[in-house]
């Protein structure tokens, strides 16, 4: 009931009334021994159609308020946390040296912004991330498609990759520095390697999970191998590929954080390491928040792409 109380009379709203209705008395003529009348539980459901003309302006306002209320609730919990953090810091419950107050973090952020340090380091991090992700992502889609589409491809590509997959990419840092030098390229390659596997596995798996009946039905109309890949396999695998992309971006961020903390000249990670040297916890927290924002932004980006390219889907969207 609580849901109805909070947002009364939404489109498709339901009024439910439970009550007991007496069953009709059994036919006396048919049965010699009449059974006692039993109450049968009945549920009466009245559904209000969306945009019904009978809806009063008051109700429409109520519906809009319900939508806004959800956002208010979301933001309110965040605000409460922020206030508690600030109050805790001012009262001295949270030691300023270990974890600075929100106001201190904000001024550190403004300082970084004014000196141009933030922009410079953010650009370095984003550039690294973009190159690594692009390299790893394109290779993943290429190899995943190759292995997914042909059995020979699977044998040649998948077996060695499965062997490589069990090595954590960051464990290869030393080897990559020896191979590609201590500069930027070894960093791109480590990010690329980390981003590669989730997307590769999901592309391969997505193609292999495409309904064979659709493949048959398309093949029977004279569509060749290239056409099948383009019209059936790749669109069919797309939902799974996008899940892989999200996972890949997650691993890429993680790899970025690690590679930036060793021998980088610029980047959010470098900013954090340098701040640590001077015990500037406020700048460290700014760096962490920027990482969080970047992660959120890319996730939102992929979700938006999903909404756009998967508009054909009519799938379960949660209760």
């Amino acid at each position: 009931m609580s849901l109805q109380e909070l947002s009364p009379h939404q489109p498709g709203d339901t009024d439910v009334a439970d009550r007991e209705v007496a069953a009709p008395p059994p036919d006396e003529a048919a049965s010699a021994t009449p059974a006692p009348a039993v109450a049968v539980p009945v549920r009466t459901i009245v559904r209000h159609p969306a945009g019904a003309v009978t809806r009063s302006p008051a109700r429409r306002v109520a519906a809009a308020t319900g939508h806004r209320l959800r956002w208010v609730r979301r933001l309110a919990s965040l605000a409460v946390l922020l206030v508690l953090w600030q109050v805790g810091s001012t009262r001295g419950w949270i030691p300023e040296q270990k974890f600075p107050a929100p106001s201190t973090v904000w001024s550190a952020f403004e300082g970084l912004l004014d000196r141009g340090e933030l922009g410079e380091n953010l650009a370095a991090s984003l550039g690294r991330m973009a190159r690594g992700l692009l390299l790893g992502g394109l290779a993943a889609i290429l190899f995943g498609t190759l292995a997914g589409l042909s059995r020979v491809g699977e044998e040649v590509v998948d077996a060695p990759l499965q062997a490589l997959r069990v090595i954590p990419n960051l464990a290869l840092t030393s080897l990559f520095i020896i191979w590609f030098g201590i500069g930027e390229p070894s960093k791109y390659y480590l990010i690329a390697l980390g981003a590669f596997f989730p997307l590769y596995l999901n592309t391969f798996g997505g193609i292999r999970n495409v309904d064979n009946r659709l493949v048959e039905a398309t093949r029977v109309f004279g569509v060749g191998r290239v056409g099948l890949a383009w019209r059936v396999m790749l669109p069919g695998a797309l939902p799974q590929i996008l899940i892989g992309l999200r996972q890949s971006i997650g691993v890429a961020w993680l790899s970025l954080v690690v590679v930036e903390q060793t021998n980088a000249k610029a980047g959010i990670g470098t900013l954090i390491i340098d701040a640590r040297e001077f015990m500037r916890t406020d700048i460290v927290v700014v760096g962490l928040l920027i990482y969080a924002l970047l992660g959120l932004t890319t996730d939102l980006l992929v979700r938006t792409i999903e909404k756009g390219v998967l508009s054909w889907r009519v799938s379960f969207s949660g209760i």
């Binding site: 659709l214 048959e216 039905a217 029977v220 109309f221 669109p235 054909w312 889907r313």
Partner: protein
């Protein structure tokens, strides 16, 4: 003279195919000694039959009798059949399920595999023929079962095939939609003059539509019944009941 694809698969399964030209009056489809076994279990044994140009042939049989295996062999969807198959170059299939690509709009689904020229026009015509004018932009997920199956029919029609293969295309439709679809197929067949091979387990459907019914049992053609009832057909016309009894008898259903 239509070109045909002659497949001689007697020697090596999955074997050679040669393109030949069909002489006038030759059958649209010809199967000679076609067999298929799965893991040592024979599902088709030495099946031979012809379908004449423009002929409507129904393949009847209980489930597991090999009807769909024959249809898949004719559609070249089964590389494991042996025997000789003479097939028309242009054939189209309507499956039991619509099998539309859910990520392509109705128009793109109908156009699948068509050359680019005049495509839009052909698709619009085909959709009009199945009474779905103006639905080219719809997503398959928004169609009802009957509409989706009509799109599948349009996808088959649009390439003007010499042979239409129907694999129980009405089986999963409700009774009313099924009757309408049967009438639609009958009308389209009469207008276009292609040959039809219809797989069904519905005796009435075979009698209402087909010129000839082949009854399959245990992988062989056990009986052939010529349906010589005048058209348009009704299940109340003289001779219908008698043929119905005969077919049911062949199918092992005693009345």
């Amino acid at each position: 003279m239509a070109s045909v694809l002659q497949r001689d698969l007697t020697d090596r399964p999955g074997g050679a195919s040669t393109v030949a030209t069909r002489p006038a009056g030759a059958p649209t489809v010809s199967l000679q000694g076609v067999s298929r076994s799965f893991h040592g279990r024979t599902v088709l044994e030495d099946v031979s039959f012809d379908v004449a140009p423009g002929e409507f042939v129904a393949l009847l049989g209980a489930s597991g009798s090999g009807k769909t295996t024959i249809l898949r062999a004719v559609a070249e969807l089964d590389a494991g059949v042996t025997g000789t198959l003479v097939l028309p170059r242009d054939l189209a299939v309507v499956f039991q399920e619509p099998r539309l690509l859910p990520w392509s709009r109705v128009g793109r689904n109908v156009a699948v595999g068509l050359p680019r020229e005049r495509r839009a026009e052909l698709v619009a015509d085909a959709l009009a023929e199945v009474n779905l004018t103006g639905r080219a932009k719809a997503w398959p997920a928004t169609l009802s079962g009957g509409e989706a199956q009509r799109v599948a029919l349009a996808r088959a029609l649009v390439r003007q095939p010499d042979l239409l293969l129907l694999d129980e295309p009405f089986a999963s439709l409700d009774a009313l939609t099924r009757i309408r679809m049967q009438q639609l197929v009958r009308r389209l067949w009469a207008e276009h003059g292609f040959a039809i091979l219809l797989v069904t387990h519905d005796v009435d459907e075979a009698l209402l539509l087909a010129d000839r019914a082949l009854v399959l049992a245990e992988g062989r053609i056990a009986h052939e019944v010529v349906v010589d009832l005048p058209r348009p057909r009704r299940d109340t016309q003289p001779g219908f009941l008698e043929l119905r009894h005969r077919l049911l008898d062949h199918l092992g259903v005693a009345l």
